[in-house]
């Protein structure tokens, strides 16, 4: 008859006491399940929404912070500050890339350029049928206006986010590699539609104009020739761009050809830098000659000067790693640089969930603390009525630890029964209560704040917004109170914890018991 068997006998043979205690645990269990269920649903909704979002983090200059700083300065100090204008450095990007959570990075520059020996894929929209080839100035002179017709997208790294996302899919040939990026090789990838429209194949070359023939007049004075504005590239790959346009939208009607996904040409960053360098150098020489006083300390341009980097976008391996990635690198950032995971928008949208999560957590803690107090009191009071039994056990040499263990097991058995019953009822109640409090919370939030303000960071003209746009409906649609095995496990762990803490004070009381006093008083 060890302490465990004694505990079972006591629980089963003192049924009324056990039932009362089980009801107490049952009520506690229900409250805990509601709390844990709501908390879990809130957290899960955020996690699931996060999972659906692209795991991207941007790294860019914090212009607001810099201007606030620089504008507060005066005179030479201010000039000095502007001379050391902060910018995104490739070595810093490479340092962040060494984080194993980074899958790839886009350091993309986009230029709208002009096709030369091929024709871009037409949109056949209203803008094209209207022609729109002339522009009239205020003085009445009319000039021919040639619009750029292709998007020249360059990157400093070969594995673009769009490739990882399957937005771009190589159908023939290959993507440029890191060596070609570093060397600024004049290679490119064109879309399958552009290729078939012009009967182009891998290995062919295409020529792109950096400046329109119409704009040449501004460059001729510096000696720039027609040859200088041509950029000839070898096609090393043909890809399919899965981005689709809605041909029925108003936006489509007035879209330029360079906005068409079919007219996007991909190339290494320095390809553009190398090509534009010839024009840039001639302009530099000319300007230096014309205005020598302004060029005393101006750096001589290099091909890199024309590959300005203003932002890096990192694609991580898991959307759930985004917050941690930002937290890990925040403190290492250089001055006036920022790392952004579009958290402000997400946090704003998740506010009702956070409030619910907070309150449900508080409920769980309050219930747990109350449970400890109640069970401690019940056990301590029960000890008085079981003093005689304890005395008897001590008199036959049962150790105090075994007596404490028996009381612990008794409570655990009753707690397990109470909690098990509460799992059944609690899961039904938690769903209803969870829905009710969420509806109430959303109503309250919508009364006091605008929830759908989207802030996807600073997006520059021609740039791709890599942050996934989400609405509060997307987020709340993931909210569903479900009592899963994890919560059930948590309830049992919490229950055992409550019983364990509750038995501590009675245990000290048992340790002070003297068998002689108990039994002699009894006799």
């Amino acid at each position: 008859m060890n302490f465990f068997t004694r505990a079972i006998k006591n629980v089963t043979r003192r049924m009324s006491k056990s039932i009362l205690l089980a009801i107490t645990f049952f009520l506690i269990g229900n409250l805990v399940i509601i709390g844990l269920g709501i908390n879990n649903a809130s957290e899960q909704a955020k996690i699931e929404t996060r999972r659906k979002m692209r795991a991207v983090v941007s790294y860019e200059t914090d212009y607001m912070a810099f201007y606030d700083y620089a504008d507060a300065l005066e005179g030479e100090e201010q000039q000095e500050a502007y001379k050391n204008y902060p910018s995104v450095k490739l070595e810093d990007i490479k340092s962040l890339m060494s984080d194993e959570r980074v899958k790839t990075v886009n350091v993309v520059s986009t230029n709208m350029l002009y096709s030369n020996d091929f024709e871009t894929v037409p949109l056949n929209n209203e803008r094209e049928s209207n022609g729109g080839g002339t522009m009239t100035y205020e003085d009445g002179t009319t000039v021919e206006y040639i619009e750029p017709d292709l998007k020249f997208q360059t990157n400093f790294f070969p594995n673009m986010i769009e490739l990882e996302d399957k937005m771009y899919e190589i159908v023939e040939g290959r993507f440029y590699n890191q060596a070609e990026v570093d060397e600024g090789k004049m290679v490119c990838l064109i879309t399958d539609k552009l290729a078939s429209h012009n009967n182009l194949r891998v290995g062919d070359t295409i020529t792109i104009d950096l400046i329109s023939a119409n704009d040449m007049r501004y460059y001729e004075q510096s000696g720039v020739t027609d040859e200088d504005i041509h950029m000839t590239l070898e096609i090393i790959g043909i890809y399919h761009n899965n981005e689709e346009l809605d041909e029925n939208s108003d936006e489509y009607k007035w879209m330029s050809r360079y906005d068409s996904p079919d007219n996007t040409i991909l190339a290494p960053a320095l390809a553009y830098g190398n090509a534009f360098y010839k024009i840039g150098m001639k302009q530099y020489e000319y300007s230096k000659e014309q205005y020598p006083e302004d060029y005393t300390d101006v750096e001589v341009p290099t091909p890199e000067s024309y590959t300005y980097v203003n932002k890096a976008v990192f694609l991580l391996d898991d959307p759930l790693n985004v917050d941690q990635f930002v937290a890990d690198h925040q403190s290492d950032l250089k001055e006036f640089m920022k790392i952004d995971a579009n958290n402000d928008t997400f946090k704003k949208l998740a506010r009702p969930l956070d409030t619910l999560s907070l309150f449900s957590n508080i409920i769980v803690w309050i219930v747990a603390i109350n449970a400890i107090v109640i069970i401690t009191l019940v056990t301590a009071l029960t000890l008085k009525t079981r003093e005689y039994e304890i005395g008897v056990l001590l008199s036959i040499g049962v150790s105090k630890m075994k007596i404490v263990a028996q009381f612990f097991v008794e409570l655990i058995i009753v707690a397990l029964i109470g909690f098990t019953l509460s799992v059944v009822s609690g899961s039904l109640v938690a769903k209803q209560v969870g829905k009710m409090v969420m509806d109430y919370q959303v109503d309250t939030e919508s009364q006091y704040g605008t929830l759908d303000d989207q802030n996807n960071g600073t997006i520059y003209w021609g740039e791709t917004n890599y942050f996934t746009e989400i609405s509060q409906d997307d987020l709340l649609s993931e909210y569903e109170v479900q009592i899963n095995p994890m919560i059930i496990g948590e309830i049992y762990v919490l229950g055992i914890g409550v019983v364990f803490i509750s038995i501590l004070i009675p245990s000290f009381m048992i340790m002070r018991f003297n068998p002689k006093k108990i039994l002699m008083n009894q006799n």
Binding site: N2, K9, S395, I396, P515, N523
Partner: protein, 225 residues
């Protein structure tokens, strides 16, 4: 005869109303193996206090107690109670939510002494020996009469295979007929099982049937001829 329990210069007292009341004064005595002792004395003489000290429920202020030559301090009070002695109380002191049989099994499980593997059968046999048949042995002890409960208590006292049994007014709550039955059991324990029984009692009936009548007076134990 061999000495099973030796008391040597025991002293014990307590504060009562501002002055110290000495219960045991340099008390020395030796209890022999296989004998039935009754300890008598007027109320308040300290019989129960003496019993609680020699039964390992309390500690003397000074002096030594030896069980089969071993110092009780070395054996340890828990081990002593668990493995060396059994105690029977006036109020029976059984665990109320257990049956008679389970009360016996409790003592058998707790002891470190060798207990036969067929514990249940041995417990039934022991109870039957003391007049508790199987059907009664399986009842909760609260459903048994006072005499039956006391028999269970005695059976529990020897169930852990000990040689020394203490009893504090074991027949105090029983009628004369039952008292006789219990005395017979004590006699049986000494004669058949070779146990030593030390009973604190007011009852002349009990003391007259014991081997040794000892009186506690002014803190000393003295044999009555």
């Amino acid at each position: 005869m061999t000495t099973i329990l030796k008391l040597e210069n025991l002293n014990y007292g307590y504060e009562d109303g501002g002055y110290k009341r000495q219960i045991l004064k340099d008390l020395s005595y030796e209890f022999e193996q296989g004998q039935f002792y009754t300890i008598l004395g007027p109320s308040g003489s300290g019989k129960t206090t003496l019993l609680s000290i020699i039964a390992g429920l309390d500690k003397q202020e000074s002096g030594k107690i030896y069980y089969e030559g071993d110092d009780l301090d070395k054996i340890g009070l828990y081990k002593y109670r668990r493995n060396k002695i059994g105690i029977v109380f006036q109020q029976y002191n059984l665990i109320s939510y257990l049956t008679g049989l389970e009360n016996i099994e409790l003592a058998m499980t707790e002891t470190d002494n060798a207990i036969p593997k067929n514990q249940k059968e041995v417990a039934y046999a022991l109870l039957e020996k003391f007049g508790i048949v199987k059907s009664k042995a399986d009842r909760l002890v609260t459903k048994l009469s006072g005499g039956e409960q006391q028999r269970v208590a005695i059976a529990r006292a020897i169930a852990s295979n000990v040689d020394l049994i203490f009893a504090d007014e074991p027949t105090g709550n029983l009628d004369t007929a039952t008292e006789q039955e219990i005395i017979k059991i004590f006699r049986m324990l000494t004669e058949e099982f070779g146990k030593t029984v030390i009973v604190v009692t007011h009852s002349n009936v009990v003391s007259e049937l014991s081997d040794h009548r000892v009186v506690l007076n002014e803190g000393q134990l003295k044999d009555i001829q």
